[in-house]
Point group: none
Chain length 162, copies 2
DNA sequence: AGAGTAAAGGTCAGTAATGGTCAAAAAGAC
DNA sequence: GTCTTTTTGACCATTACTGACCTTTACTCT
């Protein structure tokens, strides 16, 4: 355990035993371990990646921070299986659609969430890809908002439709 | 919450819980928080922008004031306004993000939904656009699933975090 | 009225405080 | 000795804060 990366890793994991989410300051932590700030990024990239079940968010500037969130996957095995084998690097609409459908059946996601996902991966949205990024963003945002605002969901946040 | 900007922001938002419109004096407020007056402008510009649903009016000279008015976008009929004028045919990430933020503040969507939307319109996802449609679809699906599976949402479908 | 002055608020560029990236060097593993 | 992992540092990007200088409005004095 002589490695800095492991020292910092275990330090952060200790903090994460208490709560699911911690906020640190890169400079401060680097100072604590007497290393360069970018070492912290290395730790985060190699030990707190999405594959390992963490989500990193951060903000620069005065009062900046790095937030580490621990994922509590319902069934972690399922999740990594889904992401790696079920989806992979590229996926067709049919396969994506079928996958989402299965997730609902297994109660891993709600119907409401399923509809959002279905819309996000649908042909009509992705076609906007050709017109550029901001165009795609606008299409996506509008379509997803419309799904959210569907009347049947208004008083039915969990999406258990009828 | 060490940031001045956040302190002032929450102070003003607290006042805005009561009414839709408040009037302040720049110098007085700056004095209250022991900062330079232009700091107030910074807060207004970054936290009470139009995208976030506020209108700022002011008047200089003796008896001058700054008025902050909260915009109302409750009802679904306002939704079409948001879609057409607030989004349009193309939208930047910053604007999309501010819009989503504002929808949460007005309780039009839950935090959970907001995080999904934020991820959907985020740079890292849309970059996948270049690699083709099926690639983008895979990135989108994976990222959104991870958002759904975040711990803070497990027993908190309405997303009222903290 | 008009001039002068006091009392607001506005702008903008510069500085400070963070965090991010990337490639090269150093250290370990086999 | 070669390959992988770790560590470092130079350079970049973003957000917050400050201060000097500018504009507008109200009030007062003649």
């Amino acid at each position: 355990m002589a490695n800095l990366v492991e020292l910092i890793e275990s330090y952060l994991k200790k903090l994460l035993e208490e709560t699911d989410e911690i906020e640190i300051q890169r400079k401060e932590l680097a100072n604590h371990f007497a290393c360069v700030p970018s070492q912290i990024n290395y730790v985060l990239q190699t030990r707190f990646s999405i594959e390992r079940g963490y989500i990193i968010e951060s903000r620069r500037g005065g009062g900046g921070y790095i937030r580490i969130t621990k994922l509590h996957l319902h069934r972690p095995e399922d999740m990594s299986m889904i992401l790696e084998q079920g989806i992979g690097e590229a996926i067709s609409q049919d396969h994506a659609s079928a996958l989402v459908h299965r997730l609902v059946e297994r109660n891993l996601i709600t119907l409401r969430e399923a509809k959002l996902l279905q819309k996000a991966v649908s042909q009509d949205i992705l076609n906007a890809c050709m017109f550029g990024e901001t165009y795609l963003r606008a299409s996506l945002l509008k379509a997803l908002l419309l799904v959210i605002m569907q009347p049947s969901f208004q008083n039915d946040q969990n999406g258990k439709e009828k």
